[in-house]
Structure formats: C-alpha cells, structure tokens
C-alpha cells in the first residue's frame, strides 16, 4: 500500500519539478555549466524558457497551420508536443527553426528572439525535422564532418564523442546507405549533439525504431535531461511515448495548443486524484466516505470503491485512517492512474463536438 501511496505522490513530485524547471535554475540547466566552460551567447539568457511563443500563426494560403500558438517550454525538461497527424506539429518546429516564415506572432529560442537573433539562438540548438536525412554515399562520420564544418571548429572535437554517445562509434566508417532506420535516427541525434545543444528539437524521433531502439532512445533522452541538463522538445503523435519519456507536454490540435502542463496533471485533467479502494464492507465504507470532507465523490464500481479525493495525494492516507477508525478493514488502496491517451481522446473528442468553425476550448493546467 505504501508503494501505491508513494506512486500517487509522484504527481506531486512532478509538480514540484515543473515549478523548479520553470524557474530555470541556470546552474543546473545548462550542459556546459557542468563542464566548467564559459557560457556561449545563448547561455546568457539561461533564466528564460527554452522555447516561448506568443500568438504564433502560420498560414499556407487560406489554410491556417498554426493558430495563435502560445507555448512555454521550461529548460531542463523533456517536453512533449503531442497531437494527431496534421495537427501542426512539424509546421511548429519548422517555424521555430526558421525553415519557414511565421505569418505573425513572437518566438523566442533560448531567450533570443527569432528570427531577429536566429543565428545566435541556433548555435546551441540541435534539431531533427521529420526524418534525419543524410548523404547516403558518405559515411556516418563524413556526414557529421559536413555539419561540423558549418557549425564551426569547436564542433570537430564533438564528432567522436557524439558518435560514441549514440553507440555508432564502431559503424561510423560505413556508408549511411548501409545503416538501418534506427542507426540513422541515432546518427541524427549525434548530428544534433555537435551543437552541444541546450535544446534538442526532435520531430517524431521514434518513427521506424523497433521496441529495443525506442527503449534506448527513451533512456538517452532521460539521460540528456537528468544528467546533462539539456532540454528535449519531442513532437510525437504517440501518446504512450510522450507519457513515458516526457516531464511535461502540450497537446496540439488543428494548429492550436489545447492544453499544456506536467504529464501527470494533463492526464489527471487538473489536480484531481482518485483511488480504488478494496474494503471488507463496501456498503458501510461508501456511507462513511460520502459524508467525509476528505472525499468529493465516492461510488461503487467493478474494481471496488472509486473515490475522488478532495485534497492532494496525501489525502489518501487520511482516507485510509478514517476507514480504519470506522472499524473497516482496508485490503486495497490504489491510486487511479489516468493515461494521457484517455485525456487526449477526451480533449480531441470535445474539439470535434462543437459546430464546424466554432472556437476550440483552451484549457489551463495549474503549474
């Protein structure tokens, strides 16, 4: 039971972490600060979010691909940009990186306004847009040399460490055309690392990866965030992947950010905490709980008693105590884990419900 209560409290930890990363402690969030090197120009804006957009809009002719997007990606987190195919995820990334022009709105990357200071901002940004592309007739190492030549002399020294980091050191002398999709994805990440990036922007990074490759990728992202203090922005339509990899996410649909916040809170739909209870006398327990100020709502379900807590995850212990004091035997106390998928489907279903052309609802998740 203790384990269940601890896991319930995880969402509280996540909230703390969210708050912490939003405050963006420069000492812990920049990769170069761990090496003792002097910060580059981009580091000078270390207190700012990794990505910030305001009313960002992009039109392709009469079609609106991005519709007033407000996005806030804190530093030092893995941030998921989640949405169905055609929601505007890749357009958002392409606009942020200057691959296409925004129609209106403001963007900041690592604290620098884009496109005004795009060149300086991108010196510490690594990105894979759509799928990583290479000159197939060149080796993996030669492909990295091409990009290192464009980035600057300091990138040369990062080629071998980057290849080792993604596990391609032994195959770097082979032509890319002989690489599997997974190896190309890893080479793409190695190419990003040539920037010693404070921010990595990865567009559908697990496309084409086998389960083992996905697991490796997930571990690599977590290590980049937790050990190296980098920010990783992952666009994906795979809810499970974002849920497992990211600390926070934004859900985007039809060019709009519908909601954003920590994963746990997105899944919960705010700060709602639920329990499944197994007790020796469900009827009496239901009576006890329905009159308790600790509980908003309680009802019987196939799994047991389903209880919506009035407070945070710590309230679970108080509910347990109340039941024990009432002379009930508690056999099971399990937090209900909402999946992001459930939440995502709820949101997108709600967006489908209004009449065509009606404004989509926007949600705010407390942070």
């Amino acid at each position: 039971m203790a384990t269940h209560i601890e896991s319930l409290c995880d969402s509280g930890k996540l909230r703390e972490r969210w708050t912490r990363v939003r405050q963006a402690d420069p000492e812990s969030m920049t990769s170069r600060s761990t090496t003792g090197e002097e910060p580059s120009g981009a580091d000078l804006h270390a207190g700012s979010p990794a990505i910030e957009t305001r009313a960002l809009t992009k039109h392709f002719g009469e079609r609106t691909a991005l519709d007033g997007v407000d996005l806030h990606v804190p530093r030092g987190s893995a941030f998921g940009f989640l949405g169905p195919n055609g929601a505007g995820k890749t357009t958002m990334i392409r606009t942020l990186l200057g691959l296409t022009h925004a129609s209106s709105g403001e963007m900041h990357l690592l604290g620098r306004p884009v496109p005004a200071e795009r060149a300086q901002a991108l010196t510490r940004v690594g990105a894979i847009v759509e799928e990583p592309r290479f000159h197939m007739y060149l080796t993996g190492r030669q492909n990295l040399r091409l990009v290192a030549a464009v980035r600057g002399p300091e990138a040369d020294a990062l080629i071998e460490p980057a290849l080792a980091r993604v596990g391609l050191a032994d195959r770097a002398g082979e032509k890319v055309k002989s690489y599997s999709m997974g190896m190309r994805q890893r080479l793409g990440v190695a190419r990003c690392l040539l920037a010693d990036p404070l921010l990595l922007i990865l567009d559908e990074p697990t496309n084409g990866l086998d389960p083992g490759g996905i697991q490796e990728f997930r571990e690599m992202v977590r290590a980049m965030v937790e050990q190296e203090g980098r920010t990783v922005f992952i666009s994906s339509h795979l809810l499970d992947e974002v849920e497992r990899t990211c600390d926070a996410a934004a859900i985007v649909d039809r060019g709009r950010v519908v909601t954003q916040g920590p994963i746990a809170e997105l899944a919960e739909g705010g700060t709602r905490h639920e329990l499944i209870l197994g007790v020796d006398d469900p009827g009496r327990a239901l009576g006890t709980l329905q009159g308790s100020p600790l509980v908003i709502e309680a009802h019987a379900s196939d799994e047991g008693l389903r209880v919506v807590l009035a407070g945070g995850p710590e309230t679970a212990a108080q509910v347990n105590a109340a039941l024990v004091q009432a002379g009930l035997g508690v056999m099971r106390l399990e937090p209900v884990r909402h999946s992001l998928e459930q939440r995502f489907l709820e949101i997108t279903a709600r967006l489908d419900a209004p009449a065509e052309g009606a404004d989509a609802p926007h949600e705010e998740v407390p942070s």
Binding site: R94, L97, G98, L99, T100, R118, A119, Q120, A121, L122, T123, V125, G126, A127, V129, P132, R133, F134, H135, M136, Y137, L138, Q142, R145, L146, V147, A149, V150, R151, G152, P153, R191, A195
Partner: protein
C-alpha cells in the same frame, strides 16, 4: 575567405568528390572522350599515315582545347555545378544545415568555390592529356608554344568555370537536379548553337553565353563549333559577367528565401 568559409567549401568539396558517378562521368566527358579520340587517331595514323595525320601537333592541340572548353568540358561543368547547387536540397540535408543557424547565403556561397575546384581539377587533368598527346604524337609537326599553352589553359578554366558557376546558381534556383540537368544541357548543346545560327536575331545573339565565352578562345572556333557571332571584348565580358551575376543572385535569393 574566412576560416569558416574555407571549412564549408572543404565540406562541399568532400560531398562532390565522394560522389562517384559524378567524378567518373566528368572524367569520362573530358579525359575519357579525349583518350578515345587520341587512340582512334593514333591507330588511323599508324595504319594509314598517308591518309591520316599524326594525333599530336598544334592543330590537334586546338581540337583538344575546343573539346574541353566548348563541347564536353561544359557538360562536365554543368553536371558538377548542378550537383553542387541542388545536392543538399535534393537529399533533404539542406534543412539540417539551415538549423545550424549559419546564413543561408553563406551556405550557397560555399557551393561555388567547391564546384569550381572539382571542375577545374577535372579540366586540368583533361588539359594535361591534350598537352602530352599533342607533344608525344606530334611526329615532327609543330607543337604548341608556352603562350598558347597558358592561354589555352586559362581559356578552358574560364569557359568551364563560367558555365559551372551558372549551373550552381541555376540548380540552386530550381532546386531540382533532374530539371536543371535537362534544361542546361539542352541549352548548351541544342538551343545555344541553334539560336546562334539564326541570323535574323542579329546582335541579340551576343547575349548567348557560349558566344561570349568563345570570343576569348586562343584557338580558332570559326566554322569548328557552329556559328561565331562577332563582338568586342568588352561586350563579351559584360555578357559573361551578366550571366554570372544573374544566376548567382537568383541562386542566392532562392536559397535564402525558400522553405527548407
């Protein structure tokens, strides 16, 4: 050139010289075809000396220079220029270069010297073959002097260099390798000679690039490579510079403005 520009040019050159089909085809169009011509001529001369002259000497040196500067050399220059201009876009690597934050104009600019370096390397190899053959197979005929040799080398580099740079700009503008190859080769081997031969076009034919380039030839092109349109050196220079500037500017503009 700054250090970063040199590095970028080196990277672009790496892309070009590692493209095996490009290097082999360019060498075939220059060295290969010349080698075949010399081989056939040597065999003909050996089998029937009274009917076929030696493969060397000044006259065949001139033929070799024309092949390199006005016929097959420009084709090789077009292929190299187009690969340099559209290679990154065609493979999708261009966007990965753009996200480094490096100026797009700088990315375009580094293609030009890289293409010229490969183009001129190939041309020099072809020229060395022409020079060696014109001396080795002279069989007593007069051989080219130093002035003609240097003027010819300069002309080959000028002629192929201009075409190569125009090809870089054109390919960067169209971003399509196949389209650019078809268009420029058709222009070079069909449209240019055809337009040059239409007398009613009058002095407008001076605007044709191959005519302006041909003006600087140290070996006679009269009657050897289609119609020759007379023009002053100043006009020829202006026409060449105009072609270069227009296509460099268009290529740079497109590279800077297009969605990557």
């Amino acid at each position: 050139m700054t250090a970063i520009a040199l590095r970028m040019t080196g990277a672009d050159l790496l892309k070009l010289r590692r493209k095996r089909w490009l290097v082999l085809l360019s060498l075939f169009l220059t060295l290969g075809i010349l080698a075949i011509v010399y081989l056939v001529t040597v065999i003909q001369h050996a089998s029937a000396p009274s009917n076929h002259g030696p493969a060397g000497g000044v006259e065949h040196f001139g033929d070799g220079v024309r092949v390199l500067s006005l016929i097959f050399g420009p084709l090789a220059a077009i292929l190299i220029g187009i690969e340099a201009g559209a290679g990154d876009t065609a493979t999708g690597v261009f966007r990965d270069l753009v996200v480094t934050g490096r100026s797009r104009v700088a990315l375009f600019a580094s293609r030009v010297p890289a293409a010229l370096l490969l183009c001129w390397t190939v041309m020099v190899a072809g020229f060395v073959l022409v020079l060696v053959a014109s001396n080795v197979f002279a069989s007593g005929l007069p051989t080219p002097g130093a002035a003609l040799i240097f003027n010819s080398l300069g002309f080959i580099l000028l002629a192929t260099g201009v075409v190569c740079v125009v090809a870089v700009g054109f390919a960067s503008l169209t971003t399509s390798r196949a389209g650019a190859i078809v268009t420029l080769i058709a222009w070079q081997i069909v449209a240019s000679p055809l337009l040059s031969s239409i007398g009613s076009l009058g002095s407008a034919r001076r605007l044709i690039l191959s005519q302006a380039i041909g003006h600087f030839s140290p070996v006679s092109t009269e009657g050897r490579h289609g119609t020759t349109v007379a023009m002053s050196t100043g006009t020829a220079l202006i026409v060449m510079i105009g072609w270069l500037l227009i296509f460099l500017m268009l290529g740079a503009w497109r590279t800077a403005e297009m969605d990557a």
